[in-house]
Amino acid sequence: MQQRLPGPLTCRLSTTDDSEPTLRRHLTLLMPFSDIHAALRLALRARFLTLTLWFALALVVTTWMAAQFSGRQPATVALDVGLSVIRLALPLVIVLLVQELFSREFDRRYFLVSLAYPRPRHRFLFGRLAAIAVLLLALLAGAGLLLAGLVWWIGQDYAQATPVALDSHYLATLGFLALELFAVTAVAALLAIVASTPTFVLIGTFGFLIVARSYAAIVELLRADPTLVGDAERYRGSLALLGYLLPDLGALDIRMTALYNSWAFLPANWPALLAGTAAYGLAFLALAVWALQRKRFS
């Protein structure tokens, strides 16, 4: 394991600072939560709050407008479209945060400070990821509350035949989404450590996301409508092979339980699905630790 000991860098640090005792500063950087703290401050400096406000505004406007187009189930469509917006926006936030906290760190050579202390490098990785998790969970909880309130308000106008379930069904939907976001974060972190440009994090993560979310549903549609491509059976078979490479993120979308107030829409093998996705995310984290330890900074 490569570790950098405090050397000339510490001297340079101490000369830049004014009042704070140098030793204390260095000790704080060795404390368990210092990485989280620094990462949170970095994210806030990168206008995370402005981003949150825009996201909330987009969520409110799209949800409300979508409800206007539905004749018989405005609250269901509102919840449906709102969840779609959350599911599209949060991976984007993940990419932006990972770019800010990993790629920029390497670009701006902040690692000369953050990785220069006598401690394993994975402490840095886990600290940053913990900060991303804190921000994302806060964002997810806030968006979930906002959407629930909005849907409740829209639902006041018109008594639907099948009301939406904003109770445990909704919480389970958000929980499954959180697990999906964990897997996406792990992939994005590995890409950020391995890749040499921040753009690759965006392209790679979204490519992974789109394929992992859609392949299972496409396989299912091809089974129902084999006229779509020539030799649909073989095409379907090779597409189904993707199931061994990527987690089935589309199946983690259990919003139908909340939309139609029924647990029957939960996939039959959901414990295995959850365990598999968690294992996939953890495996990518392990790879990220390994890649960071072997990374040669230029």
Binding site: G71, D80, A161, R213, L221
Partner: protein
Amino acid sequence: MRKYPAPLLALLLFATFLVSVTITTEARHQRPAPPAGGRVVISAPLQLLMYAGDRFLGANLETTRVASSGVASGEADAVYLIRAHRVVAQLNPCHEDNYYLGNALLSWGGAESEGSDLLRRATACRHWDELPPFFYGVNQYFFRRDVEEARHALEIAASRSRDNAAALRKFSIMIAVGEIQDVGMALTYLRNETEQASDPQLKTMLEKRVRRLEGLVALREAQRLYESRFSRPLTDPYALLNSGILDAFPSDPLGIGYEFLDGGFRLRELKIMGLERQK
């Protein structure tokens, strides 16, 4: 001028671009609009990729498009409606607006098989909802006179219903003994739909279907009058004109028309080329 050459040049080029856009759009406006048959409905797997694997978003956007973009009557538009509704049913068969609107527009617009297909998918997906099997049963009885299938669907509806179970079973028995004012019932349903429709375009579309059904009522009324006056069954629809009961056959605002089959009038179904029917 010497100081800002690049921004000024950019401004000039943007102005050129705008002028060229104006010229091309004007040229496009002068050409006649393409027929509505060219309307594209992207297939379900491609929509999945387009919306990043989010089939619910695809279903919602497609339903919004159907509900807000009006269609005139005609075969080309019927094909568009059929395809759009079917894609939504593939993406999210539980979508309530889709099966409800699709049943009103397709089943009563001459494409009964496709409308019933939407209802069949909705019946399977919405395992608690009594409306799709009820509509499906009504379609089977009204359009196909398939009493067996209709009663089966109504039984499903009755088993799902808490308040209407008795009424649905009574309806099922009335179908079996053949004493039902089916056209009157269908007219009531369509008129209710028309009154509830908030979108003016949807209202116009539904009004045409109401008038089509009123034409059928007129035809059947004329047949009843003929048979009671001459006390023999009607075999040739033109006998209605010859005997002076009808001045002219009612015209169908959808342009699909009616047909006389097995001694009774019914709504003609669209014959659509190049569209496989799912039986």
